[in-house]
């Protein structure tokens, strides 16, 4: 039986690297990534699961990191926005499409969109317009009006399915 102030050791594989943090049980995964592991690419918007800015990939599935306790995902493999590009900095197809289609303005929501779409295109590689809107329906963007984000998802799907188009 643990006390409320106890620290727990959490072992995570984040973007391919083994990491360890000692955190209280109340530490949200979003805060663990940002504060304990210094990975500030994951953004925190609403902190109650509405905005999608903190979306990460947990064992390959998109999840809201503000709705998870770090201690509860001990042992998991995590991909954050920092892990989407290749090691040499080459942008992923989704990142390149967002840049090319102007799918961002201030960029605050972008990490959540990039991770959400990365997982979404794995599940639905050739989405129609409705499926694209469904894919990003849980992510809020206050700048773009979404049109360019939808265009970017379609473009990312093109990059993903025709390697000749890739950078």
């Amino acid at each position: 039986m643990s006390g409320a102030g106890d620290l727990h050791e959490v072992r995570l594989t984040v973007n391919g690297a083994a990491m360890v943090a000692r955190v209280p049980a109340r530490r949200l995964l979003s805060d663990c990534l940002r504060h304990d592991l210094q990975l500030t690419g994951t953004h925190v918007g609403c902190e109650h699961g509405v905005c999608g800015a903190c979306t990460i990939l947990l064992d390959g599935s998109a999840v809201r990191s503000c709705l998870l306790l770090a201690v509860s995902v001990d042992g998991a493999e995590i991909t954050t926005v920092e892990g989407l590009a290749a090691r040499d900095g080459t942008l992923s197809p989704v990142q390149r499409a967002f840049a090319e289609c102007h799918g961002l303005q201030c960029g605050f929501c972008t990490p959540g969109f990039l991770t959400t779409v990365t997982a979404g295109l794995r599940a639905t590689p050739e989405p129609d317009d409705d499926q694209v809107r469904d894919m990003v329906g849980g992510n809020l963007c206050r700048c773009t009006g979404y049109q360019n984000i939808v265009a970017a998802v379609h473009r990312a799907a093109e990059f993903t399915r025709s390697p000749a188009d890739r950078p």
């Binding site: 809201r64 306790l69 201690v71 509860s72």
Partner: protein, 290 residues
């Protein structure tokens, strides 16, 4: 917007989990409702018992006339189960409306039942189908019927010290029955302003035999209505069922809130009843055509 401090346990077996579930403890499964409630300090459990290591409760299986969903099966896993969809198509139809994919990837179906949010899709589905929830504690197990399970907003019959082990959703009759689901929300994936699940069946002469509907977001618990008197004997391929819509509007007593007036909710209930009923009857006719 951070959870308050709490004691944390992560048992490796159901028996250990039950032993840890003191009255002040709360079960953490997906946490997609509990964690934000804690962050907003609306829930302040002293002790969280995390059941995410109980991999034996991750199952979705069809057995004994029901789709059996274990306590750790995520919404996304139930949604993706071909066996569950074939045995009870309403599960897939309703699960598509449960929040967003990222929430469904972590949130559990049994957890949403125990959470008993009257705007939740799965409580309405369990209520409509007459399903059950099996709960366990150190003093044994009990099985609770859906009609006894939802007591009020965010209040289910699962007591402190009890762990919901499994939900059972009865399978759909193999021929002559169908299901439908319709919902309106301000943004796809948000809480429903109004929603309805319908189960309809045909009579031996292939006319409408009857139907039942369960509504979300119109009362403190899922509200189940028998639509049969309004539609029995009608042609099964009728283009509209205004009497069913009238019945829903007449019987439901939704409340007003910041999202909708009571009158608007009642109007939606009528419209959505017809939409879901048409979908259910189309499915019922297909089962006989095949």
């Amino acid at each position: 917007m951070k959870p308050p401090p709490f004691r944390y346990s992560r048992p490796e077996s159901v028996a250990d989990a039950l032993a840890l579930l003191e009255p002040e403890a709360k079960v953490l499964a997906g946490g997609q409702s509990l964690v934000p409630l804690m962050s907003m300090r609306l829930a302040v459990p002293e002790h969280l018992v995390d059941i995410n290591r109980l991999a034996g409760l991750s199952y979705v299986e069809v057995a004994g006339g029901a789709v059996r969903v274990g306590a750790l099966a995520r919404h996304a896993e139930v949604l993706a189960s071909p066996a569950a969809a074939a045995a009870q198509p309403l599960l897939r139809k309703a699960l598509r409306w449960v929040a967003h994919p990222a929430i469904r990837n972590r949130g559990t179906t049994v957890g949403s039942l125990v959470h008993a949010d009257p705007s939740g899709e799965m409580p309405a589905v369990l209520a409509l189908l007459g399903g059950t929830v099996r709960v366990a504690s150190t003093s044994g197990e009990r099985t609770i019927a859906a009609s006894d399970f939802f007591l009020g907003p965010l209040e289910s019959a699962a007591q402190p010290g009890e762990l919901a082990i499994e939900a059972q959703f009865p399978v759909l009759a193999t021929a002559g029955a169908g299901t439908g689901f319709a919902e309106i929300s301000r943004r796809r994936g948000d809480y429903a302003v109004c929603g309805v699940a319908v189960l309809a069946w045909l009579s031996a002469d292939r006319r409408v035999g009857g139907a039942a509907a369960a509504y979300l977001s119109v009362g403190p618990v899922p509200v189940v209505l028998d639509l049969t008197e309004a539609i029995a004997g009608a042609a099964a391929d009728a283009a509209a069922f205004p009497a069913a819509a009238d019945l829903a509007r007449g019987r439901l007593r939704p409340a007003a809130d910041i999202h909708a007036t009571a009158a608007y909710r009642r109007q939606l209930a009528g419209v959505l009843t017809e939409r879901a009923l048409l979908e259910a009857l189309a499915e019922a006719r297909e089962t006989l055509a095949a």
